[in-house]
């Protein structure tokens, strides 16, 4: 079962591509590309938990993020935490008490919006793994240009050079509320709320894409 | 104190740097039972390579080996190969005595060699520790370590199938082909550090040389090559040379063990008698 899907959205976000079951060993996996940014995510779970991390009432979620080069450092630890806590919010961990769910993410290329890309990849891999989730999670990255004060959705590396502030918002698919958020730079309240609204709208495209991928793979079985 | 093949022949051209002939071993000196506290121990010198080995056990499994082999019903052999930081003959000093990749690899290979001679089924759920301490390095140290470990096992009274004997055979210069008929062409045994460093190939083998009518005779347990490329056609000759060295070492060590036992076992028999 393999295949590649190209979905052209309305030009708001960079084109997304996804291939499920990219890896054979994990219980669920996804290779996800957003523009030139690409990551691979693999899920093992529920598996036997390590004694120190075992929780009697729910599954413990472990995330390992591997950067493209060098050993993981403090920055990657931060990314790991966001992925972990976001997936924790989406998963129904209480269904598998005393076990562990391992999410492994490997960065392949970073051309802007890496965090959003990893979260989307993790979500697709979770869907692929068949673990029960409360909702899907979709991440959207945007920035405010320094000179023009213009909002650019899903910028690439060259555009980010000109950024005054960047935002990564992660929304849930049911109520479209904010699950996670990370920002860089200085910005006003108005700018923040404006980009929040725009990204919320754009998150529809992400969820739409998720749905199309799931339907596509579902019919193929 | 025993000495290697000493049939000296005056053949200047065929002699090695230290005056040995190609199939000649270095001086071997042995002492068994060096330590009082260990269950078995041995000290072995082959030329300037000097090694101490202590054997503890069989005892209840403990430490990392026990955890790793928890589901293992048979006996566990636990080896540690450690090199004293001052052991190099050259000026430099080793940074760590153990824990580096080479030491770990040697520990593992040592375990393989020991597993091949110890009758593990005699020791279910027990552990035997073999600790090697290299005091001075002058070539063939891994082979000498295996020889010393065998002696320490004998000293500990652990039944073994056969001596596990290591010996190196080294082609001093593997590129030269003109002297096919000279004795060096088949390699020199028991290489020193200088010979190991020469631009050639060194083959280390651990074999069970066996007594003359043994089924396991000449069985090679561990083999390892190092150095430059070696033409396949020359491997067999090299292996035979090393095996030949193994047999020589075995005879020397066997004599040493027998001598050690005759010297040390009599008093214990008499005390046993008194208790009776």
């Amino acid at each position: 079962m393999e295949g590649t899907e190209i979905v052209e959205d309305e030009g708001i976000l960079r084109p997304m591509k996804c291939e499920l079951n990219h890896l054979t060993m994990p219980d669920g996996s996804a290779m996800f590309m957003q523009g030139d940014t690409a990551v691979v995510a693999g899920i093992y779970g529920p598996v036997e938990a390590r004694v120190q991390k075992m929780m009697y009432d729910k599954a413990s979620i472990e995330v390992v993020y591997t950067p493209i080069k060098g050993p993981p450092c403090v920055d990657d630890r931060m990314r790991e935490q966001i992925i972990k806590e976001t997936c924790e919010a989406a998963l129904i961990a209480t269904l598998h008490p005393g076990t562990a769910i391992c999410i492994n993410v490997q960065e392949l290329q970073d051309s802007g919006g890496l965090l959003a890309c990893t979260v989307n990849a993790a979500c697709l891999a979770l869907i692929n793994s068949g673990l029960s989730m409360k909702f899907m999670i979709g991440a959207v990255n945007c920035m405010i240009e320094k000179d023009s004060q213009k909002l650019i959705l899903d910028p690439d590396t060259t555009q980010i050079q000109e950024a005054k502030a960047t935002f990564t918002f992660i929304f849930d698919s049911s109520k479209k509320d904010l699950v996670s958020c990370q920002t860089t730079g200085r910005f006003t309240e108005k700018e923040f709320l404006y980009s929040f609204d725009k990204c919320k709208e754009a998150s529809q495209c992400v969820f739409q894409f998720f749905r199309s991928i799931v339907t596509k793979y579902a019919t193929r079985i | 104190m025993l000495e290697g093949d000493q049939d000296q022949e005056e053949d200047q051209g065929g002699l090695r740097n230290d005056g040995r002939r190609a199939a000649e071993l270095r001086k071997i000196r042995v002492r068994m039972g060096v330590f009082g506290q260990a269950d078995g121990s041995a000290y072995l010198e082959q030329g300037n390579t000097k090694i101490l080995v202590a054997v503890y056990g069989p005892h209840q499994p403990r430490g990392s080996a026990a955890r790793a082999g928890g589901k293992n019903v048979g006996g566990i052999i636990n080896c540690q190969y450690s090199t004293a930081v001052f052991s190099f003959s050259a000026g430099e000093r080793k940074r760590r005595p153990r824990g580096d990749r080479k030491s770990i690899e040697k520990s593992l290979q040592l375990r393989r060699a020991m597993e091949s001679i110890i009758q593990l089924d005699l020791y279910p759920r027990s552990q035997i520790d073999v600790f090697v301490e290299v005091l001075q390095i002058d070539g063939s140290e891994y082979c000498v370590a295996v020889n010393a470990a065998t002696l320490a096992l004998i000293d500990a009274g652990i039944p073994i199938k056969d001596y596990a004997i290591g010996c190196t055979a080294s082609l001093i210069d593997s590129t030269s082909k003109n002297d096919e008929d000279s004795s060096h062409a088949a390699g020199v045994v028991d290489a020193t550090y200088m010979e190991e460093c020469s631009p050639g190939a060194t083959l280390s083998i651990i074999a069970l040389p066996g007594s003359s009518n043994d089924a396991t005779k000449g069985l090679v347990v561990v083999a390892q090559g190092a150095g430059q490329r070696l033409h396949l056609s020359r491997l067999e000759a090299l292996r035979n040379r090393a095996l030949c060295g193994c047999r020589d070492i075995r005879n020397i060590l066997d004599r040493a063990v027998r001598q050690h036992l005759t010297v040390h076992s009599q008093p214990s028999f008499s005390t046993l008698h008194v208790i009776d």
Binding site: A89, T183, F192 | -
Partner: protein, 279 residues
Amino acid sequence: MRRNLPRSKYQKGIIHPIKYLRDYLERDIRPDGRQFLRVRPMSVNVRSITQADSSSIFKIGNTTVVCGIKAELAEPKVETPDCGYIIPNVELPPLCSPKFRPGPPSDQAQISSKIVETVFLNSGVLDPRNLCISKNKLVWVLYCDLICIDYDGSVMDACVGALMAALKTLTLPEVEHNPDTGAIIVHPSKRLSVPLKGAPVCTTFALFEDQLLIPDPTEEEESLALARLSLVIDGEELCGVYKAGGIPISQEVLMKSLSQSKKRAELVRKLIDTAISST
């Protein structure tokens, strides 16, 4: 009202901490006797550590963070020849809470370090070019070590507060650098402060069921919260909104937290200023 009892000593008796907390929240009060939107009393103390170049101790309720800055000299990076270094590290030693074990920094300490660094860089409080002594040759390195002494919730708030208070009182000795010979002379008696602009203030919120938002949570509230949210405000602008997972929050709650943190920011700024002027 049991607000003065040291928490850890009497928390032990709680068998069902979640229900315990929920009972309080249902009666519109927090376990330490606070109203929902009240923050704990804060205090800040500067220049108390003699060996550091500047220091501060920031307390929010029980939570205590000590910040010490040590300045050293180094060569700048090739890419940024006129920029100094600021190295903030948050230390959550085992001393501050039984949650931490001795050894390398926990994941949480690493994430806290990263957040403090991001807040610092985003806010642009200190231009690293002000730390340049001689371009391409010599710059200041400010090692800002934030050590948590008492871990009782909202540690990020205390860390950011302590860092800002310490930076505000930082003075660096005058350095003469001869670019040709490389000779360095330091005049310890002439010390100058570093120009700063703005002062970001971090406010942490905890979220509970029904989008209940409480600022400045204690450790107990933090560990039982369904989500946590941190906002960093500097004057009229924001320089960081940080939320990692937990229950999704609506825009109204976001607006509410924004207005709350603005109030808090003003309070903290005044507090730091009075503390500095009074010493």
